[in-house]
């Protein structure tokens, strides 16, 4: 890639690498980030937005077609009663895990490098959860009574099954969406105020009004900041268990069953690791081009990409550990159904899906052992695409390969998706990208105030004498 403005220095343990590179101060950071939204809309944005809207319309059409005709338009049928919709649901909800991990867990771990990627990742999380929520909702068939999933008192005394993980999903996902959206919004407030003030100065009154409504009258007083930071910490603490609980509960959808390949105790942490893996994969897929096109090299540095690559290596290897444990215990258990299931996954009719999964999820991140690959945006982007593909196939393998060969060979069958399946899935990308592109265009895509907080100027001892290696307080 061209235009890499930063020098790729070797690491020096005596001092912490600067999180913001180049000759930047507070004002220039604001200018870079606010500039993205204030400049004239680039032509490329219209092009991408047009494509996204087209896909979104297609999603709407597919859902309309489904509602009129029933879920028979999909490939789901006995023995594979759960097909692409559940695969897509788990795929999207998994992607929605990076944002909260970055904003909550990395925050509690005092990982200051998270400040330049947390905003966009949180936005990505929210849009991914929206895309995810569509699939189980339309899967119920009679979407007009979807509110029955909530335990609402009614004259028929009908209640959802509280023992069903599908109901736990309703609570888990809606809680997750609420908290993530709140967290994202609370973080946005000071930056929206910045946007408001700049719009006002530039004479763009409509924009100033619009940003002003959501900035809640923020003017950066001491009291505002004290409340803001308390709220941020509390939301971080609330979000932390959610990072684990949501995908654990999604894994229960499978693991509480009796089905070989679904029922295994490692599923909850394995799903969480996979979710973080896929989420960070999508962060790379989105941030590498954004960094390039929007000129954010000095804020999202090679060190940031390096760190994300390391997280991909870690979580990809954890997923590999889970694959290994499943296989080992399937053999060790001595249960012939378990053994058959795993042999069938690797060598049966869906062998190709299994090996795509293993190659993309376990093999491809191993390239990140090499530092120069971790710091090569192009290589990162390519591998992140493999990660996205691999994690979709993981859910496909789990769902379909466990179902397609039933306990009775007489009811074995081969699942194929229909065109409607494919177009609905593709359409969900339209929803995701429509929102993400709007976000990139109109909102601060980096957390301005937080990035400033990790610059040396923000340190009260800046410029003073404070120890020989005053590399910032980590």
């Amino acid at each position: 890639m061209t235009a890499i403005l930063v020098v790729d220095e070797p690491e020096n343990p005596l001092r912490r690498a600067a999180l913001v590179e180049g000759k930047n101060d507070f004002a220039s950071v604001t200018n870079i980030i606010a500039g993205v939204a204030e400049k004239r809309t680039p032509k490329g944005w219209y092009l991408m937005f047009g494509c996204a809207i087209a896909l979104l319309l297609n999603l709407g059409a597919m859902i309309g077609y489904l509602v009129f005709n029933g879920i028979g338009v999909w490939g789901n049928n006995i023995p594979v009663g759960w097909g692409w919709p559940i695969v897509n649901f788990v795929f999207w909800i998994g992607i929605g895990h990076a944002g909260t991990l970055i904003s909550a867990i990395l925050f509690l771990f005092r990982q200051k490098w998270r400040t330049s990627i947390n905003r966009a990742s949180e936005a990505m999380t929210i849009f991914a959860v929206m895309a995810a929520g569509i699939f189980p909702a339309i899967h119920v068939g009679r979407i007009w009574v979807i509110y029955w999933v909530f335990p609402l008192p009614n004259q028929m005394s009908l209640w959802p099954n509280f023992k069903s993980p599908l109901l736990w999903d309703v609570f888990a996902v809606s809680t997750y969406f609420t908290i993530s959206a709140l967290f994202w919004f609370v973080g946005l407030i000071p930056d929206l105020a910045t946007f408001r003030d700049r719009a006002m100065k530039a004479g763009r009154t409509v924009a100033a009004k619009a940003y002003g409504v959501f900035a809640f009258g923020w003017h950066g007083s001491n009291r505002h900041w004290i409340h803001y930071e308390k709220a941020y910490l509390i939301l971080a603490a609330l979000s932390t268990p959610l990072v684990l609980s949501v995908h654990s509960i999604v894994s229960f959808d499978f693991a509480v069953s009796l089905l070989p390949g679904w029922h295994t105790t490692i599923f909850p942490p394995y799903f969480v690791a996979g979710a973080i893996f896929s989420g960070f994969g999508m962060v790379i897929t989105l941030m590498v081009p954004a960094r390039q096109w929007l000129g954010l090299h000095e804020l999202i540095t090679l060190n940031h990409l390096d760190n994300i690559a390391k997280i991909l290596l870690l979580t990809g290897t954890m997923v590999g550990y889970a694959y290994g444990m499943e296989f080992f215990i399937a053999w060790y258990s001595g249960v012939e159904y378990e053994q058959f299931c795993f042999i069938n996954r690797a060598t049966g009719p869906y062998w190709w899906a299994y090996w795509i999964m293993v190659t993309c999820n376990v093999v491809s991140p191993q390239f990140f052992w090499i530092r120069s690959i971790r710091r090569n945006p192009m290589a990162l982007f390519v591998i992140s695409i493999f990660v996205n593909i691999g994690m979709w196939f993981e859910r496909f393998v789990i769902t379909v390969s466990s179902l397609n060969r039933d306990f009775m060979p007489s009811s074995w069958g081969y699942f194929s998706p229909t065109l409607i399946d494919v177009l609905t899935y593709v359409g969900s990308f339209g929803l995701f990208f429509t929102f993400f592109l709007l976000f990139c265009r109109f909102l601060p895509i980096l957390a301005i105030s937080e990035v400033k907080g990790v610059m040396p100027e923000a340190n009260p001892h800046h410029g003073g004498h404070h120890g020989a290696s005053n590399g910032g307080h980590h």
């Binding site: 220095e9 070797p10 690491e11 020096n12 343990p13 005596l14 005092r110 268990p241 684990l244 654990s248 229960f252 693991a255 509480v256 069953s257 009796l258 029922h263 295994t264 105790t265 490692i266 599923f267 909850p268 942490p269 290897t317 550990y321 889970a322 444990m325 499943e326 215990i329 060790y332 258990s333 001595g334 249960v335 052992w369 404070h466 120890g467 020989a468 290696s469 005053n470 590399g471 307080h473 980590h474």
Partner: protein, 438 residues
């Protein structure tokens, strides 16, 4: 600016001249000897009075205390791989704890001696048991022993490597050492994860060779790492009382150690809940059997005790910032968690020892009319079960744990007395000394 090789880190002397760098000659020797003698006496007493049961009691203590050493190794590697600045001084204590791993290898001997008793389900299997026969490729004595050697070779080599390099950095102040260790920590953690998983499978899960659980390695690790934090907090507090580590491990570091201990209380619960809930829900006899064994013979009371003692009580207790920043309350939390860690190991290991009388099944309390009655029935059952447990438990089931705990205290002190108390010239030492929680 590639001059890392030419620059050296400032020393403790420059940064904080008031911190005592080393244990005074001869100091703590009595404590070290006392701990070792007390530990040996308890283990010896357990051996003398335990009979065949001793081996199971010993395994309880051994897996509990080994987990602390493995936790120390894990902590050290995680500190390096994350380039952590806050925990430099705590890391030296962890290095001294994991320095006991060679001794732990030696202390494996009683388990090897009791091998036929401990693992008799698969060493002398029922000839009609085709399930166990099918596992003989994994569960056979030769391969089993080979794996013991492999696990300890990995752990001792890693502990030796990380500790020695850190001690050398005290002398040469070379920042490149930190870089090298952070690189080695990555494959080190991979080896650690695999070896600890299979060691947990081998030494605990295979006691009942019919049972299996893919999450089992993780559940063992979660409890062990929590116990490491409890042990480290207590050791550091005790050394602080003796005048050491003052200014090096401060209330800020205890606060962080408390947070991590709290986190692994929750993580232990998460893994154990995942295991229990999924097995309960699917209700497959080949899996539920293991928990059924733990509902008999009074073990149901210990299961309940773990739910409260290993989760609800420490969760509520350690949540507050004040509790974690107060030396007394944090130590109480740490002691509580070490005690429940011993119960946890008993719960995993002893029900397969088969020494508990199988009382008549106490299930089916009948229809419970209301919440108050449910609580009353629950308490009555707990009291009854706990009585059964006390009737069957041997003092050595605690004695070995406490004995090995003191052996580890002695071994740690042995290392503490011979090394500098903090990494004198770690490049991030200044960060650790100035560290503050927000």
């Amino acid at each position: 600016m590639t001059a890392t090789a030419h620059m050296t880190a400032p020393s403790l002397q420059q940064l904080a001249p008031t911190i005592v760098p080393k244990v005074k000659d001869g100091d703590l020797a009595t404590a070290q000897l006392g701990a070792l003698v007390l530990g040996a006496a308890l283990i010896g007493g357990a051996w003398a009075t335990g009979g065949e049961r001793f081996y199971f009691s010993y395994l309880v203590g051994y897996m509990g205390v080994l987990g602390i050493c493995l936790g120390a190794l894990f902590f050290t590697m995680v500190q390096h791989i994350t380039r952590a600045g806050w925990g430099i001084c705590v890391r030296r204590l962890a290095e001294n704890i994991m320095g006991a791993l060679p001794l732990m290898a030696l202390l494996f001997v009683p388990i090897y001696v009791g091998f036929d008793h401990l693992f008799h389900h698969w060493v002398h299997p029922d000839p009609n048991d085709h399930l166990v026969a099918g596992k003989s490729a994994w569960l056979n004595k030769n391969f089993f022993v080979a794996r013991i050697v492999i696990y300890f070779a990995i752990w001792i080599a890693m502990a030796f490597f990380f500790r020695r390099a850190s001690l050398q950095q005290d002398e040469n102040g070379d920042p490149a050492v930190s870089l090298r260790l952070s690189r080695v920590a990555a494959p080190g953690l991979l080896l650690f994860a695999l070896s600890v998983t299979f060691a947990a499978f081998d030494w605990i899960m295979s006691l009942d060779p019919h049972w299996f659980s893919t999450i089992f390695g993780l559940t063992y690790f979660a409890g062990a790492y929590m116990a490491f934090f409890a042990f480290t907090i207590l050791m550091a507090k005790w050394l602080g009382k003796r005048g050491y580590l003052r200014g090096a491990i401060t209330v800020e570091h205890y606060h962080d150690l408390g947070k991590l201990m709290f986190a692994f209380v929750v993580f232990w619960t998460y893994t154990n809940f995942s295991q229990y809930m999924l097995i309960w829900y699917a209700n497959l006899p080949e899996e539920t059997r293991w928990f059924a064994d733990r509902a008999e013979g009074g073990w149901g009371a210990i299961g309940t005790l773990l739910v409260f003692g290993h989760f609800f009580i420490p969760f509520g207790f350690l949540m507050s910032r004040h509790v974690k920043r107060n030396g007394v309350t944090l130590s109480i939390g740490a002691i509580l968690l070490l005690v429940v860690h011993c119960f946890d190991m008993q719960f995993l290991i002893l029900p397969t020892a088969g020494s508990h009388e199988q009382g008549p099944a106490e299930h089916g309390a009948g229809h419970v009319a209301n919440a108050a009655e449910a609580v009353e029935t629950g308490i009555a059952r707990f009291t009854h079960d706990f009585g059964t447990y006390l009737h069957g438990v041997h003092w050595a089931d605690f004695g070995c744990f406490v004995g090995l705990f003191f052996v580890l205290v002695g071994a740690t002190l042995w290392n503490v007395r011979r090394a500098n108390l903090v990494p004198l010239r770690d490049p991030r030492l200044a960060e650790a000394l100035h560290f503050q929680n927000f």
